[in-house]
Symmetry: C2
Subunit: 273 residues, 2 copies
């Protein structure tokens, strides 16, 4: 699955923003990251994070991000406004909005901050899985453009096929990385937090209209730890907690190559059966 | 622990807001819900939710809420601005800010919506615990005022005592309800999502400066299911995933009396050791 592509990497092209002054940034949707309707939610989340990262007043690195998918994003240009609502000594709170033609399509809040050395402990266990090279790469249906930018090697809970039946659980575990390969950073990690397809597809063994309503990412790693991951695959694992009356939640973890927990992420998803 | 108190219930007094026009509401901190510094985060979250609920343009019921604790809230008056950023056919997205003297102390986003009947499934299991009447009520240290408004019956992972040592895990499981008793609604459920004291207190067996940075609540129940809970205790269970460099995340579930999963909630917490 090695592809050679001239720079910039498609991911960097997709999240590219041009400063337009006063905390505003201009961007453009990328066909390479298109979903069935509008862009892949992960690329939208990454682009919003980038706006805060590129803001001249930015303090520290991302600690948390919540993105609310308020309405469809049409193919074409968009504008992001990034407002540092409050800056403290070690944390900074952001309000972000993505709009098209003056209509808000996505809102977000982010917390940035600096980190200090403290007592540390990982309280959950990384799934015990075969090495990345021992797991075969799977494929999403061809019509999901964004998925072609990720190499996914499913250990459990792969994409349902057309012959799929109900699955006993909602767990997917996979090795995942950008393809073509790209060094990990906060924006890439944000997008990777949304690669876990809607859990109801797996559970029911079928596709149906579904979309993320709100996604939160907690960043556990700092920039140095992310840089250490280089272009290696991350291990991701996701599951739903409850599916009820048109909505469900799903939670996931992303683990680094040496077993560090890099991010935990949660989302509420809408579906129609 | 039965107390008789004239109406309004202290919770309703604490979250009371006076409409000030144009999506603005005036409120006041309540000494009954004071924490060590400023108010209990749960009461602030509930008050922000109430602003959206009371807004004349409100559509449906809460689906998700994210609250970012940007700075301290001083004892006294505050103002909340509630802006319906986008209203679709079945969902509505809110931007909320709590400020004092023009300085933003808390930001939030919320998604409201209507629900339809669909295929449903609870994918996690409620902890197997003794009945509420078979578990003794515990007590927080006296100086934590807000905790006196909750009856907490810990099955596991109770409040550390001054003699506490390191605990092998970060799990607390408890029966919890408002005291004096109060019928459950979205605002009360929001506040209950924050009753799980910082997991590092349990893990290290000691208190230290700690505070929620960002909290998200996913509401799985509609208003009717909440009303059915009446004044009964909920079963809550919480745990941390990773503690690292001054921050940790914790996740929790709140279960109803007939075993329904009412809410799932996540937060990122700051600490200083």
């Amino acid at each position: 699955m090695t592809r050679t592509i001239a720079p910039p990497h498609p991911f960097d092209a997709a999240v590219e923003l041009t400063p337009a002054g006063d905390g505003r940034f201009s961007g453009h949707t990328s066909p390479a990251y298109a979903n069935m309707v509008g862009p892949f939610g992960g690329i939208t989340a990454a682009t919003l994070l980038r706006a805060a990262q590129q803001h001249p007043d930015r303090l520290g690195d991302p600690l948390s991000l919540t993105v609310n998918y308020a309405g469809p994003i049409a193919e074409g240009a968009f504008e992001i406004s990034a407002r540092p609502v409050r800056t403290n000594r070690s944390t900074q709170h952001w309000a972000l909005e993505l709009s098209q033609d003056g209509v808000v399509a996505t809102t977000a809040t982010a917390v940035f901050g600096t980190r200090r050395e403290t007592w540390s402990s990982t309280e959950i266990t990384r799934p015990d899985v075969p090495a990345v090279e021992d797991v075969e790469a799977g494929a999403f249906p061809e019509f999901i453009a964004w998925s072609r930018n990720y190499e996914m090697r499913f250990v459990a809970g792969g994409i349902p096929t057309t012959e799929a039946v109900e699955h006993p659980d909602t767990v997917s575990t996979l090795w995942v990385r950008d393809t073509p390969a790209r060094p990990l950073d906060f924006a890439a990690l944000t997008a990777l937090s949304d690669v876990f397809f809607p859990r109801i597809f797996l559970r029911r063994g079928q596709y149906m209209p579904a979309g993320t309503v709100s996604m939160t990412v907690y960043f556990h790693a700092d920039a140095e730890v992310l840089a250490e991951q280089a272009e290696d695959a991350l291990l991701g694992t996701a599951r739903a907690q409850q599916i009820r009356r048109g909505y469900f939640d799903q939670s996931a973890e992303l683990w680094g190559r040496d077993g560090e927990l890099l991010a935990t992420t949660h989302q509420l998803v809408y579906f129609k059966d």
